[in-house]
Symmetry: C2
Subunit: 703 residues, 2 copies
């Protein structure tokens, strides 16, 4: 038991070697040249000036060069064109139809920094915006519409993002971490930003990334891991130039750069004896340091902080609380319009499995809800969507309903740490949509999307899933998760199936595939329900975890059961689940507003899919579905594997129809998914059969 086992560990920890960009053809993702055909074959006028208008001009010029169209960049309107991109507020206004559309759908609201109007003015399609970013988003909207953008019967449309802040967090390390590698929880090769301690040379690839993000709707990224190492800490000071370079590359696509900082920076970088947020010298240090950041990067977004969490430094060391800590940084950022994203992912990670009274699910609420109202207005408390840690199924975090006087952001995980690590197809749109539509005050109340929307909402944040992999995301189909994140952040009310359809249309355009309708049908069949399929063959009924410790890939039913991480299922010979009721459990259910507190409190009213998250029940407990818990476990695990096998079979029908490199990569990963799902099925079923002694009533093989 030695080197090879260790090499296996190795393999799990560092899944993929970084690939040099120039060695490979990079997949165009949702912006293949063909997506620009309708636009590029037309006569286009661009009206307005500015960095982002230049980007629009470049995009249109490239498209026209390829597809035979023509482009004018002109301050006047007297050109005979098919399409106009125009900034409002220039001296000359567009035609009467456009004015009418503006007046008609306008209801007094401006288009804002990022919104745009799309309408027809006679034979001309007009995209009108109040600010350059609006034209850029309008451009990608026209790309998505293809020929439909030029339909004479198309009514006028106004588009504004529901969420002002649509941000990706890169958990990328500058220096390679000895265990976590270049990207913590990264499953797509190396980092797209850093390589072995230095910025990557390949700025063209980074620019291409910014372009893809803009086309999905994302407008901010943080450039380094929330776990801030020594090298990464210095991005704030003597290595600020590295951040500025990234900002320069992404700026033309309307993407602002944020930085994860260490709360201990005044000590580590500034040589101060303390990082106490109430210490005058510490405040001065942050103020001066932040001023320097803005001198270099005037549109810098702000700081992202993981404090007093899993070993990261924070205000607790000085007897201060999270509001003190966050306000310290907010004060320094305020003069420049910057924000602090302060993570609510704080819990006791030295828990004793013997102590059933401590409940990690309670922690974020217990720490943060009492602080509501104490945060400065440029603090955004960034809350993981669930109370534990990005599991395949969790309830929505009660923190999101508990801080009405605080700007809140929801944090999602696009990188598939717990959802198949981009080796499994697991399309997360439906899951995120459920989270965003969840109404924590009851069915008629505001939704999570409402909480994070608008001027006071903190928006949507996600941990990125991109690396230097030629398909960007390891699994080509995982691109759809990134795309869907951006589109949901723009409009959380959209149907995730419609977004997926949009992604399919863009990514597999007619000219790149022999039969686009076949591709569309097969991809929907494979992807639409893939998150629920993943749920079926992994941890049952919301109980969570049951993964291999460390790498979090593959089953490990008792993997975390006796650890200090607070992620238990308490399965014994009689039953399974965590009692989080107020009456007899940890009381977590009581952290919700009344409707859900009542619903979750009792096993009878608790939704099946969260039963074991909230209750410890006997294996014979009958679900709303009519099945017992144990039979449900068996049935879903057999079904999950059958569904994955069907996925693979369906994919095989695309052989020869699409780009062979995409076909092969997905085919390989589906093989692995079948293998892994089978392993999950067998381990989970065997585990519960050995514990419960209850045979499968359908008599299938359990080992």
């Amino acid at each position: 038991m030695n080197a090879e086992e260790s090499m296996e560990l190795d393999r799990l920890l560092f899944v993929e070697e970084p690939i040099e960009a120039d060695e490979v053809r990079v997949h165009p993702a949702w912006l293949p040249p063909e997506a620009f055909r309708a636009l590029g074959s037309r006569r286009v006028l661009i009206h307005g000036d500015g960095l982002l208008v230049d980007t629009v001009l470049d995009e249109v010029s490239r498209a026209c060069a390829r597809y035979g169209g023509r482009v004018w960049h002109s301050p006047t309107w007297d050109v005979d064109v098919d399409l106009v991109f125009a900034l409002r507020g220039t001296d000359e206004l567009p035609g009467a139809a456009v004015r009418a559309a503006l007046a008609d759908g306008g209801d007094g609201e401006p288009l804002g920094d990022e919104g745009f109007l799309l309408t027809r003015d006679g034979d001309v399609t007009v995209v009108l915006a109040d600010a350059p970013a609006g034209l850029l988003y309008g451009l990608f909207h026209v790309v998505r519409l293809c020929a439909a953008a030029f339909d004479p019967a198309r009514p006028a449309e106004r588009h504004r993002p529901a969420l002002r802040r649509r941000m990706l967090n890169h958990w990328d390390n500058v220096a390679v971490h000895p265990v976590m590698g270049q990207v913590e929880r990264g499953y797509a090769g190396g980092s797209i930003l850093w390589r072995e301690g230095r910025p990557r040379d390949d700025r063209a690839r980074l620019r291409e990334y910014g372009r893809l993000l803009a086309a999905s709707g994302v407008n901010a990224i943080s450039v380094n891991n929330v776990n801030v190492g020594h090298t990464e800490a210095r991005l704030l000071t003597d290595r600020l130039g590295d951040v500025a370079e990234i900002a320069d590359v992404l700026r033309p696509y309307g993407i602002r750069v944020h930085l994860s900082v260490s709360f201990a920076a005044p000590i580590v970088l500034g040589g101060l004896p303390t990082a106490d947020p109430l210490d005058a010298a510490v405040r001065t240090w942050w103020s001066v340091t932040t001023r320097r950041v803005y001198e270099r990067i005037p549109d810098f977004g702000g700081y992202l902080v993981k404090a007093d969490s899993e070993g990261q430094p924070g205000p607790f060391s000085y007897g201060r609380d999270h509001a003190d800590g966050a306000n310290l940084l907010a004060e320094a950022l305020a003069p420049y319009g910057g924000v602090v994203h302060w993570r609510a992912f704080v819990y006791n990670h030295h828990q004793d499995w013997r102590d059933r009274s401590t409940d990690r699910a309670r922690a974020a609420y217990d720490h943060f809800a009492p602080l509501d109202g104490r945060f400065r207005t440029n603090v955004i408390v960034q809350v993981k969507h669930g109370p534990v840690d990005f599991q395949t199924r969790e309830p929505v975090s009660p923190v999101l309903a508990a801080m009405p006087a605080t700007r809140l952001a929801v944090e999602l995980q696009v990188t598939q740490e717990y959802t198949g690590q981009q080796r499994h197809v697991c399309h997360l749109g439906p899951w995120w949509s459920e989270v965003l539509r969840f109404a924590p005050w009851g069915p008629d109340g505001r939704t999570i999307a409402d909480v994070v929307a608008g001027a006071v909402g903190g928006g949507l944040v996600a941990v990125a899933n991109v690396g230097d992999d030629p398909f960007w995301t390891g699994h080509p189909l995982a691109q759809a998760n990134l795309y869907t994140f951006g589109r949901l952040a723009w409009d959380p009310g959209r149907d995730p199936a419609a977004i997926l359809d949009e992604w399919i249309t863009l990514t597999f355009p007619p000219s790149a595939t022999a039969d686009p309708e076949l591709v569309r049908r097969v991809l929907h069949e494979i992807m639409d329900d893939s998150w629920r399929t993943y749920e079926r063959y992994t941890a049952p009924l919301g109980v969570g975890f049951m993964v291999n410790p460390g790498d979090h890939y593959g089953p490990g039913v008792d993997g975390y059961e006796y650890t200090r991480w607070g992620t238990y299922h308490f399965a014994d010979r009689d039953g399974v689940g965590v009692d989080r009721s107020r009456a007899t459990g940890t009381g977590f259910a009581g952290q919700y507003p009344p409707h859900w507190a009542t619903t979750y409190e009792s096993p009878e009213s608790c939704p099946d899919e969260l039963l074991l998250f909230f209750h410890h029940v006997p294996y014979g407990h009958v679900l709303h579905s009519g099945s017992t818990v144990i039979q449900h476990i068996y049935d879903t695990h057999f079904a999950g594997v059958e569904e994955v096998t069907a996925m693979r079979r369906r994919w095989q029908t695309l052989r020869g129809t699409i780009d062979p490199s995409v076909y092969e990569r997905v085919a390989e990963r589906l093989d692995e998914q079948v293998r892994s799902a089978t392993e999950w099925r067998d381990q989970i079923n065997t585990y519960f059969f050995r514990k419960s002694g209850v045979p499968d009533k359908r008599g299938r093989e359990i080992h």
Copy 2:
């Protein structure tokens, strides 16, 4: 769940940072200056020449310089002395009494290469040997005897090692392995041989190590890990000089150097297209390569090979068997008297946990027993003492009784991979003694010690536990395991408690401690039964494993249960254990000669301590002890922790009595042992309580 968890993994994988030798005072282990007091205060004559005689002279000179004695190196006997070290075969023979002793106890046998006679000749103590190594071993014998060596009434003694080959295998890597570090399964800091790709500079420390080994009886080491990496492979050819340097340092202490080689060396180093053992070019390559080794290191010991095991290359790739492979190397070594140690640790490490018919315990026998008689005489098949992998309790490997026409060595593990990793006190002497005294053909037959002894036996081999730690072994009390290994290899029949006593006397001499008798009593109380204590709080009744995967430290009851490593316990709600009977199980029990095959076959006759190794039984099964299996699990686990707590209490009585640095190091580790043993107790008890539902009949707390 991220960086800190990974750092914890880090900590487990790389337990200790290497320490620069010159930063620390190195503990003298069992050769403190005080051990030489009786010798050093006397008049000593040394008679004879040669490298090892010079070593004796140096040792005696140093001792006399310190304690006021005097030394002569003279070809004549006419000096008035208290002690003579003399090589027989010189012209002049010692006195009549010596001649008489030689004739008396001699029964015709020569003293051999390493043996010696100790007797009195009038007022003179005489150590007589036929070869220089005998004088060196005689010297250390005199050291151990202290004043008793000069007792006029002491009868003459003849000493010859029962085992010719007494070897340590260093699993040290030359280049730091990304996961395993500098020493695979090393728990005592860095390597004493290598450091980051190069030989260590500190040759004085290495010489000191050789001296300690000689004083314990070890006469050979292999200098690199059996898992041979790219860098290590080159020790055979262009980096042979590194090996020669080590040989030069160790030679004065009678220690030969062996090398772990890669079976793929002809390809990797020689550029041949194959490593097929029957290929003529391959044979030539090994022949030429080996000749070069001997040109450089004339007393080179030979090759150690892990082939077709856990990913290492071997003859299977060419459709050849282990005899073909071993004989290839043996042929190359034969002209120079070198040997091949060919490991029998071969098994399928891609097992499917669902398949209960494959049994890793069977593998070594199934692979090797059919090859008996096919190995050249300079092949030693090196067999792990148990059929699985150095567990705290296993039966003795049936291979050791199955190959009468083959030279066999037993491989022990001094490094405490599965026995507390030198953080726990676990004195292994009693365990090894049980193995060596085991009589595989039944109580009246030959023992394992007999099998490996003498000219045809392959001797005893152990994986070393030493690093550059100032106490050599991390845990100061783990020194006793190293010492005991050497002494048992010299005389497997010795009582391990007597050996421990010897170690205590040498290591804690009167001048270094305020109360040697207190120290002796306390150390016996702590150490004598510590292996059984360790067994009590870990995996029960011989079932094995239940450790954390990867690092193998601490409990992980299901840690290997669903892996490919073939180390299962099959616990379900009704019972636990592996059915290895012939009648209903894997048939492993049938690999033993009739006495033990019958004994192990039935749960009724199987010894309690191996019950779950051989049988799957209900929790209510009544042991020979009268307890049920489940109650035995609870009782031993509570008892184990109580014993460790008592160890710590006893150790505390030594505060102020011994070297504070030893005291503190052991005290820290006992704290960790109490913590870890408690964790073992609670996890194992909880696991089996959850599974069985049977309460502890004494009502103690199970979580």
